[in-house]
């Protein structure tokens, strides 16, 4: 197909694809799935962190956390907009999320049990997210690439704030340090799982790579994340909960233990500790808000009607 070939050539030449350009159906579909999953993750991701806003330990921390959760909602918004340029509406995407048809990042199905979890999420979860997203700034689809540039800037800010929370805890009382270690213990493996299954088992990868909507392999990014994070944990004086973790001089990176993929797939299947609560919270927000959305629409129609009458 010459159209497809021309399309691939533009991608290979590093020319961005824009919404009005022709694109293969598969490219469109894959992008919609990827962008909307990412958007949904930002939306659901408000919940575990939102859980500690009312209990943040200082006014400053409360303000930082509010700003962060607000940023996440903002990311959700531009990602939905990016997806909309591909011909799908936000209502459709929301419906897919609430019906359980669309996925979001499984990491948000874990609970935030202590204040240290807010630090760990910033440090590890945002850290892993950035690792995934930095390359996507160069992805072939213009709106997604531009959204990623904006998102990455804010995420790296969030990561520093998360690390700062961990730092304060590790410099604090023995109880606070234990809280930090406990959070690392609980978030470490789920963070590694955020990069997805091993390349061998990953579907869609080759085509997505060719289309430049995936720019690195899962294992490659995971390795980078481990290599970046282990020294940070050491600096904090915390122990990474992996007895098999050790520096491998030959590859210039860390070897790490086997990931429990059974857990990963259980969580994906809906059996994580918080899957039901997260979905229930979103469904409730949507249902309870129906009158509000309808009220605004009705008002807009009335206003339009009044303008028409005034013009007539």
């Amino acid at each position: 197909d010459p159209q497809e070939r021309a399309f691939q050539e533009r991608i290979d030449a590093g020319i961005k694809i824009e919404p009005k350009d022709w694109m293969p159906e598969g490219y469109r579909k894959t992008l919609i799935r990827q962008i909307s999953q990412h958007a949904h993750s930002e939306i659901v991701g408000q919940l575990p962190e939102g859980n500690w806003i009312t209990r943040a330990p200082t006014l400053e921390r409360k303000a930082i956390l509010l700003a962060k959760v607000q940023d996440e909602a903002g990311h959700g918004l531009y990602l939905y907009c990016a997806a909309e340029t591909l011909g799908v509406s936000r209502d459709q995407l929301t419906e897919q999320l609430l019906s359980g048809k669309a996925k979001y990042s499984s990491i948000f199905n874990y609970p935030t049990l202590t204040w240290a979890d807010i630090g760990a999420i910033g440090w590890l979860v945002d850290g892993a997210a950035i690792m995934n997203q930095v390359p996507l700034q160069r992805c072939s689809f213009g709106p997604y690439s531009r959204a990623m540039i904006r998102v990455c800037k804010e995420e790296s800010f969030h990561q520093r704030q998360g690390y700062d929370i961990m730092m304060k805890l590790c410099q604090g009382t023995p109880e606070q340090k234990a809280m930090a270690q406990d959070a690392l213990n609980r978030w470490w493996w789920p963070s590694l799982m955020m990069f997805g299954p091993s390349d061998a088992e990953s579907v869609h990868s080759a085509q997505s790579m060719a289309w430049k909507i995936k720019l690195n392999s899962n294992d490659e990014l995971r390795q980078k994340f481990v290599d970046q994070t282990v020294p940070q944990a050491e600096y904090l004086g915390l122990t990474v909960p992996d007895p098999d973790l050790k520096w491998n001089e030959d590859k210039g990176g860390y070897d790490y233990g086997e990931i429990d993929w059974a857990e990963f797939f259980e969580v994906i299947k809906g059996n994580g500790p918080c899957n039901r609560e997260r979905m229930a919270a979103r469904v409730k927000a949507h249902e309870d808000g129906a009158w509000f959305r309808e009220g605004l629409m009705a008002h807009a129609e009335k206003q339009a009607e009044r303008r028409r009458n005034a013009a007539a």
Binding site: Q46, R55, T58, A67, Q70, H286, E294, H299
Partner: protein, 261 residues
């Protein structure tokens, strides 16, 4: 020029009241995070809460600074004031501690408060106390935005569907009970007025009345009948709700005394 000690006690109380309003309403608004009816509202509410927490830091910071003039060991920090007082020492209006209810009640509460807050901050920008005037100037910009937003939504929902109209009307009717206290001057307000630091609450009421009447008219909502004035927040006699807010808000500071975060 040294201010008389009595004025400073009143100013301390006054700063606490302004700060506690922001803190408690900020807390209530932040309870919505991730649970609001549309994404845009999640963003807007987080933004309002964020502004209010920022204003809390300024007002409680001022309160602590003033307190430092007489308290052994210095005035308390804004954090200590926020996290280590029990309910009876809080000075916020009853209105702001009322539970969120449905989104309509949250909005109505916000609008009733914003209209007061905006008028207060407008006046406080001319305060004889420079520190208060500076805080008011910064906060006034934010609060003007809050008021624009809450007013706009009250109008759209009041003049929306039958359901949105009736929800907004019910919210107003429920909350009206707590609005009298906004204008009830006591000795602290009188001292602040006399010192040129705070406004005359009768003037604030006139501005508030005008704002409310204009907006409710546009929103096709009925102004509830004035009735009994429910009061107490400004002198630390609250509703049963505040204790629960504080138990949640203060948990970490209480459970790990002296820890730094």
């Amino acid at each position: 020029m040294a201010r008389a000690a009595t004025d400073d006690t009143a100013l301390f109380e006054y700063a606490l009241r302004l700060g506690d309003n922001c803190l408690i309403l900020g807390h209530r608004v932040s309870e919505w995070c991730g649970h609001s009816p549309v994404l845009e509202e999640d963003i807007a509410l987080a933004n309002v809460a964020l502004d209010l927490i920022g204003q809390t830091q300024l007002w409680l910071g001022l309160a602590g600074e003033i307190e430092g003039q007489w308290r052994e060991g210095g005035g308390r920090s804004a954090d200590d004031l926020a996290f280590l007082r029990d309910a009876g020492a809080f000075r916020n209006l009853l209105l702001v501690e009322q539970p969120n209810g449905d989104f309509g009640k949250t909005l109505a509460r916000q609008f009733l408060f914003d209209a007061w807050h905006n008028a207060m901050l407008g006046a406080l920008q001319g305060s004889a106390d420079k520190r208060a005037a500076e805080i008011a100037e910064k906060a006034a910009k934010e609060v003007a935005y809050h008021l624009n937003r809450s007013r706009d939504l009250v109008v759209r929902l009041g003049d929306g569907t039958a359901e949105s109209h009736s929800r907004m009307q019910r919210a107003l009717d429920d909350l009206w009970f707590y609005t009298g206290e906004l204008f009830l001057a006591d000795e602290v307000d009188a001292a602040m007025l006399a010192a040129g630091i705070g406004p005359d609450l009768d003037d604030i009421r006139a501005q508030w009345d005008a704002e409310i009447d204009r907006t409710l008219k546009q929103a096709t909502l009925r102004r509830p009948d004035s009735g009994h004035v429910q009061k107490g927040g400004k002198r630390g006699v609250h509703s049963e709700h505040l204790g629960y807010v504080l138990a949640e808000m203060q948990f970490l500071q209480r459970a790990y005394p002296g820890a730094r975060w």
